[in-house]
């Protein structure tokens, strides 16, 4: 297994507020990793830094040995916590867009998933419900054969049935050499698909461990451990 992500002393400040405090982190390839923490713990900041949407105040961040930039954007597939689709476009227009820009985009995957969810590719984005837009976005992101997937709160805004579909989509499209980093505070919904968890609080990594270790050695579920670590 190789290291897909390395952070050394990674710090991000917004004015006087420190969103990330000297984070050291290594993520191995071929894992599904939960980035778990309460609201405002620094999950989104870390994911934005990985995607080059923010610049570190201090420290270093490397993806497959490269700083965030052109090379890393080719191998990272990012699902932000908001909709970035152009509302005036049709679903098929966005598929064309992905096909044009991402060499690892597999159109047939998108077509299959859209068909299964009965989403019309000719529909305009603005005519779709919020939940359907989120599904379209997830389908596009998971249709790439990326090395690292960063999914920021992929299940926060959808109903439980859609949550199951989204998690199935993630599992079914998971390439064993790829790494999936899922940020969420809805632990119980995701814990069955995770290989590893990272607990983050107040911009600091509190724990990074394999899910099996939590279950076997500590005899707890991830959700129970999370509640213990983050007890108010």
């Amino acid at each position: 297994m190789s290291t897909i992500l390395e952070c050394r002393g990674l710090t991000k400040k917004y004015g006087k507020k420190q969103a990330l405090k000297s984070v050291d982190l290594d993520l191995e390839s071929g894992r599904i990793i939960g980035l778990l923490g309460p609201n405002g713990s620094g999950k989104t900041t870390l994911i934005k830094l990985i995607n080059g949407l923010l610049s570190p105040s201090e420290g270093a961040l490397l993806i497959a040995g490269n700083e965030p930039g052109l090379k890393t954007k080719e191998i990272v597939s990012y699902l932000p916590e908001r909709t970035y689709l152009n509302e005036n476009q049709r679903v098929s227009d966005v598929m064309n867009f992905f096909e044009d820009f991402y060499s690892d985009y597999d159109r047939s995957r998108s077509k299959d998933m859209l068909e299964r969810l009965a989403i019309d590719p000719t529909a305009r984005i603005k005519t779709l419900s919020k939940g359907t837009r989120e599904k379209v976005q997830l389908i596009l992101v998971m249709s790439r054969r990326a090395k690292l997937y960063c999914l920021d709160e992929p299940i926060a805004g959808v109903d439980p049935a859609a949550r199951d579909y989204i998690l199935d989509t993630i599992i079914n499209n998971y390439d064993e050499n790829a790494t999936i980093l899922i940020s969420t505070h809805l632990i119980s919904d995701v814990e069955n698909i995770l290989d590893e968890v990272i607990f983050i609080k107040d911009g600091q990594i509190r724990m990074q461990t394999a899910v099996d270790d939590i279950r076997v050695k500590q005899g707890k579920s991830v959700d129970a451990l999370f509640r213990e670590v983050f007890r108010c």
Partner: protein
């Protein structure tokens, strides 16, 4: 990738601008027809007058909207929610600036062409065309000959550079405005106004200083020819200073915008 970015930006920006400029031409044609029916603008031709007024309004709106829309497209695509896609594409910030900038410049040129065409549709007849071509010949003959050659070249350089500078001025204003934590659009307008004010102050100082020195030296001769030469010298110096300021804004605008997109992106 630059070609692909240009293709998508052109498609996106042109949707609204083609419709708007189509309306400009439609109003020009309607005005011309109403002129033909009523025999031109006179006190009995209310409809022709109304169409003429509306055409002027539509032309003005199109010109202002085109410029504002070019700046807004950059803001929306790079610094709002859509920026989450734009800034994670496997392209460089300079490719984004160049592709969007080129479409903006092309639309500024197209806007000018459509506005001129609309004015011709409304006003022009055979006599206008022959007078205009005569005037153009005289102006070109005067400007690109002997002592005025430099003035001619400076005018052409200013005309060519203007759309490039206008676009980069908007992009850098939007980029600096986006550094604020709130009221980013308002901040962008403030930065744009600030750049404009600084430009104008430099120009006024330049005109005052060069004008004063040229006039005081030529007043001693009281010769009409030398007075004319002085006028040309003032115009040339002013245009040279203006070109230098424009080039600085263009180059600094590009690099500051690129720096902000690379190092100071602040998507919230």
């Amino acid at each position: 990738m630059l070609k692909k970015l240009f293709k998508y930006e052109w498609k996106e920006i042109s949707k609204s601008l083609i419709i708007l400029h189509g309306i400009v031409l439609l109003f020009a044609v309607l005005t011309r027809i109403s002129f033909a029916v009523s025999g031109g603008l006179n006190e009995n031709s209310t409809i022709a007058g109304l169409f003429f007024f509306l055409s002027i309004m539509v032309i003005g709106t199109a010109a202002i909207f085109t410029v504002v829309f070019i700046g807004y497209r950059f803001y929306k695509d790079v610094f709002t929610d859509q920026g989450y896609l734009t800034n994670t594409l496997p392209v460089t910030p300079q490719q984004i600036i160049i592709s969007k900038g080129l479409t903006g410049i092309l639309w500024m040129v197209l806007d000018i062409i459509v506005v001129i065409a609309a004015i011709f549709i409304i006003m022009a007849d055979k006599e206008t065309f022959s007078n205009l071509s005569q005037l153009m010949k005289e102006v070109i003959g005067y400007l690109f000959h002997g002592r005025s050659l430099l003035t001619g070249c400076l005018i052409v350089a200013t005309i060519v550079l203007t759309p490039f500078v206008s676009v980069l001025k908007m992009y850098v204003s939007v980029s600096i405005g986006s550094l604020l934590s709130g009221h980013k659009l308002l901040g962008s307008v403030g930065v744009y106004a600030g750049i404009y004010v600084v430009e104008q102050i430099i120009m006024i100082i330049t005109i005052a200083v060069t004008g004063n020195s040229f006039i005081s030296s030529s007043l001693e001769s009281e010769n009409a020819w030398e007075m004319q030469v002085t006028g040309v010298q003032i115009a040339n110096t002013t245009m040279i200073i203006n070109l230098i300021i424009s080039l600085i804004i263009f180059i600094a605008g590009f690099f500051v915008t690129k720096y902000i997109m690379t190092k100071k992106l602040n998507l919230q």
